[in-house]
Subunit: 419 residues, 2 copies
């Protein structure tokens, strides 16, 4: 069932219902924990999450006091040295992961390279299976690693994933929620399918972490990566994360390694010896400024249950879809996001011939979504700070844009936005 | 000649001369651009540079306004998207590099992996030569890449580098200034030696950039990497850099790649096609908070000539060595840093049986240096903010520590420092 608080919505949904839904929303107070520009309807938190107010103070403290006053001593005294593990354990509950399996470090793509090389360097199997709809950095990283290690990257359409799995497959590498359509894979089932042929499952969680409940341990996921700057709200270019299930940690020893993954980094030994546990996948010093903002962002999540967030997220996306269908009917939109709540993340994608122009026109009217080639208008609903009234306003303005047929010509609108 | 401003120093150097040297130092006003805790003699800027005061405001502006108010639009409107190249060009003069050859991204070790795999994946030659005194993360990264690509890492003592070069060598990978001893290689000569056997020279500039004039283009260096947080003062875990000489850019295509190195990142193409120029080595979104601090740090360098900085740096290190020899004679120290100004960077290393205890005792007395295993007390002199009076104070307190024989027992001092 699609749960839309506070009660079953009228059809068509009206503005009053959205106001009432916000008034009844137990998560509504969390919006004040973010800096949201007045009047802006920000439906792009799936690209860059909003600023947690606490990050301002925390980053300033880290710069002014930990760096400025503490200087080199802060690596120990301010706990910088342990942050990759400590923040990993702080993120772990959002992943459904027990302690000691998550490291905060580097970027999603770099972490993907690190884990893929670790598996492929030693696996007798030479195939990585992925889908062609995957976000392209994953495809580029995997094809680069495959080229380097003489492996094969098998790129198939989403619908052909199951038949692509056979006993030559080393890794099934997928993104949980599709960055364009918002369609969500059945993570547990596909992980089982990988295991059934003796392969590992490596999940990119960029578009699910912080928006969708995850149960990596229970679902027996092997490996995962994801970013810190979308629904996690860690800031532009925030540190990313990687997950290695405890059962694999002792044997996965990536060739893409550095001194902070050494068993004794300060022994300055000539030979590399990997640390026990997840720390062996750390390479270099983390970005301490980035870590500060990310920690402030993670602290907001400590106050909510993912199930509650998910319920609100589904309510927001269902309301948006209902309103678009009732108020923008006949405007040439096609819903590219599944209606089934089991099969969508926290975004709604609308396919339209003039999607680019519509997105530009909406931005001019204070509704920020984004365009994804070739014809997708994409709207993300970060449940920590998006309200039902924002959904109403977004569709109100969308209907206005569509009613003004001049704006349906993308070229016209692009000129208008540039000048 | 070792140039010690403002005039030839008396022997032994006295406190008054140090005061006069600061008064005559044309770079002295730059110290006010940094936040230096009162009374602290910070000789560890070669590990973590001091905070540029302007970074406080700049980081706050980026967090509060660019991220908080501008949100996703800041990737274009605040120029985030071009920062890796723009800041690369800002750093380039410090490297003696023309525009379009430097990228600010990721970490030193990761950049080393990226460049080493680019060369080794396609080179028929299978050997990387390096020295065993190299900083160990470079050794671990190179041995990991070599293992993965079936290459050989030939690790030899510093004195045996020349005979280790033969026509099997693909890359000579060296650190310009030794992290322990401060000894500096003849970069031009070793680059020539690599070229003479048909190999490329890859330099790690972590301990030279910002302290030692570099001329990568004139010296025909092929590849280089380095960090942003030592003499550059970019902050803890600051973004690093990589340099690829223009003549190599078209053919070096690293398998460790990502979407921002694609020719058209927003075309979302299935197949990877590397961008022209240095941008092909960018993988992911940069840490925007880290970039903000680093840019404030680089702006300070725009006001000085590296030759002038180098002159002061040599004056500081020569003064320190003179004072240690005149005031700490007979205390069991051995100077591990070359006296020859052509052969040292901007640090002085003292070898001593109780180096660990001495460093701890000095820290208690407000002089921050660091210990490097097994017996090195290391002192870095960042010429942008270290004064001659700091050198005097450091040796004054060092002499005091050495005179108090109880502190020469490392174990005693460790206990004292912990409690």
């Amino acid at each position: 069932v699609e749960s839309i608080p506070p009660s079953r919505a009228p059809q068509p949904i009206d503005r009053e219902w959205c106001v009432a839904a916000d008034a009844a929303d137990p998560l509504a107070p969390l919006r004040s924990r973010f800096q949201i520009p007045d009047g802006l309807v920000y439906l792009d938190g799936n690209s860059l999450g909003a600023l947690p107010v606490a990050a301002l103070e925390r980053v300033d403290r880290v710069v002014r006091h930990e760096w400025g006053d503490g200087l080199i001593a802060s690596w120990m005294q301010a706990g910088w040295m342990d942050q990759t593990l400590r923040l990993g354990d702080k993120l772990a509950p959002l992943l459904g992961a027990g302690a000691g399996q998550v490291l905060i470090c580097d970027t999603t793509t770099i972490n993907l390279q690190r884990l893929l090389t670790a598996v492929l360097e030693r696996s007798p199997r030479r195939v990585v299976v992925t889908q062609k709809e995957n976000f392209h950095t994953d495809l580029y990283a995997a094809s680069g690693v495959a080229r380097m290690l003489g492996a094969e990257l098998r790129v198939v359409p989403r619908a052909e994933l199951a038949p692509a799995l056979d006993d030559s497959v080393s890794v099934l590498m997928l993104t949980h929620v599709d960055y364009r359509t918002g369609e969500m894979h059945d993570l547990r089932k596909l992980t089982e399918a990988a295991h059934a042929v003796g392969a590992m499952a490596l999940w990119d969680l960029c578009h699910s972490v912080g928006a969708v409940p995850l149960a990596l341990d229970d679902d027996e996921v092997d490996l995962a990566v994801g970013c810190g700057y979308k629904y996690l709200n860690g800031g532009p270019g925030a540190p990313a994360f990687l997950y290695v299930a405890a059962r694999h940690q002792a044997r996965l020893d990536s060739p893409l390694r550095g001194w902070l993954g050494h068993r004794e980094p300060f022994a300055f030994a000539l030979e590399y010896a990997p640390a026990d546990g997840i720390r062996r996948h750390q390479v270099s010093s983390p970005s301490i400024l980035g870590m500060a903002a990310l920690e402030a962002a993670l602290d907001v999540f400590a106050e909510v249950e993912m199930a509650e967030l998910r319920e609100k997220s589904l309510g927001l996306t269902a309301t948006f879809m209902d309103l678009v269908e009732s108020r923008c009917a006949g405007s040439g939109f096609r819903l590219a996001t599944p209606r089934d709540p089991q099969r969508r993340g926290s975004q709604v994608a609308l396919a339209h011939e003039h999607a680019y122009g519509v997105v530009r026109a909406l931005i001019e009217r204070g509704v920020v979504g984004d365009f994804r080639t070739p014809d997708i208008a994409r709207f993300g609903f970060a449940p920590l700070y998006i309200r039902f009234i924002d959904v109403w306003e977004a569709v109100e303005r969308l209907a206005g844009v569509l009613a003004d047929s001049a704006h349906l010509d993308g070229r016209h609108v692009v000129r208008a936005a540039v000048t």
